[in-house]
Symmetry: C2
Subunit: 492 residues, 2 copies
């Protein structure tokens, strides 16, 4: 093996950390809690961005850009929002450094203190709604459907690459509507866009649901999320969509004249996904050899490794591989020939497995003589011999199969690890092995808090799929009556 990674069985958490670093996705930076996203990791993020961006735009959303900094006073305008976000954040207090009068280096210039401190945005509702106030006068100005791709900062105490970092990259949509119904529909539409994206492109069989009031976004009246199951049975919240009611419109005094000329407060949503999705991708599909990337979001879909001893053999194989590469590219697939002359084929095989490339093609002089190549699929680790003739067609189909198979495998794992649990004893023992527990809950924050205190499990969501959970029962903890099951799980 090129680079050793801890096995999942030995230490799942260490396996994840090893994989992220050794597959060249990201690494810690010298700045506490901030990561460097390396080219290979960033290429995956770019593919995610492009795919999501197209999906957003097809619903009428436009991109825009709002300031990085938010005046401190803006946060105080929405009471719950400030409680949720303004506490752990990066605060800019000065705008100049000066040469250190007492030695080498530079120090903060005390005379350059800002009149009002600026907060590095942890999320942009406040700065955006202060802007929307100028954009919205009448019903004709609505809806406004804006998204921004940006960096945000939340001063997290414990950080992990992609999963929880002080700075992260994300997209945040912020929409303004004339009616409550329209805003609620928008929040639902966007969580479904996220679910489609996660399922079809990331091969993540996510569950869509409402958050419990306690788990809502600070300032939201309803929060919807997509929840993915990792291979240790824990949940990972992979995207959220919020119905914000008129909270921000009221805080920033944003009203519109309706068709009758009456002034009304505007209704809002916001919705976001982040580089956290990279963590979900790694954790959901990876194995002990490395990443397993769904072909749709793999930066390299097919890698080719020539095997040879003489220069003549080398030239002959390269010529064939070059033809295969062109044929694959003509079908819209990305292919790479790994022709590094200082590394042995076995080393290369291990490296591309580590990096999760969906299909590997290897060929040596004997394959060439037989008019075949060796094809290896990353998801199942199977190898088979395939004629060069018509190879591009076969690979095209294979990539589609791999995409579906990775999803099917994750779906089976998820369904095998969703349990209807009806007694508190079973809950306590089940939760130790991970999984999503479908339980009755009495709807109180008190019960929710006690369950978390005793088991570290939280309500991940109240699924919107009513077939799964609408049923009468009794709360798993308090025994009080309940009308539907919710999902409890430990989470990232």
């Amino acid at each position: 093996m090129a680079k050793e990674i801890t096995s999942r069985a030995e230490n799942y958490s260490q396996w994840y950390n090893d994989l992220v670093v050794k597959a060249d996705l990201a690494e810690q930076s010298p700045v506490r809690g901030c990561m460097v996203i390396k080219p290979y990791g960033y290429a995956i993020w770019e593919k995610m961005q492009r795919l999501m961006d197209d999906m957003f735009k097809s619903t009428g959303v436009q991109n825009a850009y709002f300031p990085l900094f938010i005046p401190k006073s803006f946060f105080s305008k929405e009471a719950e929002h400030v409680a949720g976000f303004a506490k752990e954040c990066a605060v800019v207090t000065h705008h100049r450094l000066m040469n250190n009068p007492d030695g080498p280096g530079v120090v903060v210039d005390p005379s350059a203190k800002l009149e009002e401190e600026l907060i590095v945005r942890p999320t942009s509702e406040t700065i955006i709604w202060s802007t929307y106030k100028n954009w919205i006068k009448s019903w004709r100005d609505l809806p406004i459907l804006c998204n921004q791709w940006a960096n945000v900062v939340r001063w997290e105490m414990r950080t992990r690459l992609f999963l929880r970092t002080t700075e992260f990259l994300w997209q945040e949509g912020h929409t303004a509507h004339a009616t409550e119904q329209e805003a609620r529909e928008e929040a639902m539409r966007m969580v479904n866009v996220y679910a489609d994206f996660a399922r079809n492109y990331l091969s993540l069989p996510v569950v869509v649901g409402h958050k419990s009031p306690h788990e809502r976004f600070a300032g939201a009246l309803d929060t919807l999320s997509i929840e993915a199951m990792m291979q240790d049975g824990k949940a990972l919240q992979a995207g959220t969509s919020h119905f914000l009611g008129q909270n921000f419109a009221k805080s920033f005094d944003v009203k519109f004249a309706d068709k009758d000329g009456n002034l009304q407060y505007v209704w809002a949503t916001s919705w976001g996904t982040s580089t956290r999705l990279m963590g979900a991708l790694v954790m959901a599909h990876g194995d002990d050899n490395g990443l397993v990337l769904p072909p749709v979001i793999a930066p390299i879909q097919v890698v080719m490794v020539p095997i040879f001893k003489t220069d003549e053999e080398h030239a002959a194989i390269l010529e064939v591989m070059d033809r295969i590469k062109k044929a694959l590219e003509a079908k819209g697939h990305s292919a790479k020939i790994d022709d590094r002359d200082t590394l042995r084929p076995g080393f290369k095989f291990a490296e591309w497995e580590l990096k999760g490339v969906p299909v590997r093609i290897a060929a040596g002089p004997r394959d060439l003589a037989a008019g075949t190549v060796e094809v290896h699929r990353r998801d199942t680790l199977e190898k088979f011999t395939v004629p060069v003739e018509g190879l591009d067609e076969r690979i095209d189909i294979l990539l589609g199969d791999i995409q579906k198979n990775i999803y099917a495998k994750a779906l089976k794992f998820r369904d095998d690890n969703i349990f209807k649990v009806d007694t508190w004893d079973e809950f306590k023992s089940r939760i130790e092995q991970g999984g999503f527990l479908l339980c009755h809950w009495d709807g109180t924050e008190e019960t929710e808090a006690k369950i978390q205190e005793e088991t570290k499990a939280t309500i991940r969501c109240i699924p919107i799929d009513s077939a799964v959970c609408e049923e009468e029962g009794k709360c798993i903890y308090s025994g009080k009556p309940s009308h539907r099951r919710v999902i409890f799980a430990r989470s990232y």
Copy 2:
């Protein structure tokens, strides 16, 4: 007119400000010096990004992402760099707010002071070279060709939308090489990528050249730039590419083992363009009616305005326009039907002229009966009648013509406003009318400074096109001998 803008003749500077705001490109935010880029402006920036990104990638560059924050001590490591950048910047000193003990709102929590202050990146050489140190061991690790799309902050005292803002969006390439020659070639390659991009897509006939030592990037041994001429004859620096020598490698101790096993310092370049390009685009091509966008980067290339009185007429025209739209889209052009029912055609015409849409199509019942539409081109303001039959072909050709014509017009303007000037008196009078003055200069910083002091003109560049300027002569100011002309101009 929908929205009045000042004419260029009346006040060029106010014309620019009006245009940026009224064409919905950007606006001031509540945060000092920071702008909001509105959807229409951002759509243009996105097109620029996509086009440049493809060009970068075709030279082997990969994208990555590095932290927003830079530890204060990093800046002190490169002496010129800290002098150039660390002085006017946003400084993060705390990581927490708390409820105000003396009243409403929140205040900075004094107990959450950072041990070392963090600077919001004004540019990323320092954080990137501290990272490259871990990536580079041997000649096999080189070259590294990374780019990042990011926001940066420079605490500017006087700001103007797009041209000079406290926060702006940009891309910054940072490359590492084994040899000086390779690094110098890379710096030249990238400034030429910028020049091609500016000429072919933005229709800006830029001049490529070296900066004088005084005007170099802080920490560079050579700075190349593209300089565009605005309609007032002033220069606008639209992109720069720096040969950094081994300065950052030495500051961050980045060495590689060459093929003989000897440790050597790595050679560096960096290069960047920003949302300033938006300002160049507006200023170079706009007219008194509004923006004039080159078709390649226009978010909407063709807008259609139906003219009708009755519902039947309306339906018939929409049907035709819908067919035209589909045909244009099939050719890869973006088209929009402006079917707003509350606005008159004249208002719509003015609005789309303001927004610089390259081609407008209007049609009413009489046109329909004749099987024609009225086509209006934004660049020349000409109108002509064109048969619906084959319209998509005609528009396709027209868009290409407009792209070329906007460039040709800007090129003529530039060439009409480049003057060879050989006397100091002529210099002083010419510079008042704007334009690029090709003059001999004695090569000293002293003369450069005096010329700037007396005329506000600076050396924009020493053009790489030797035919234009390699010639013996005498310095326009000092009379000392000179071997080549340089370009002096006032600038943004």
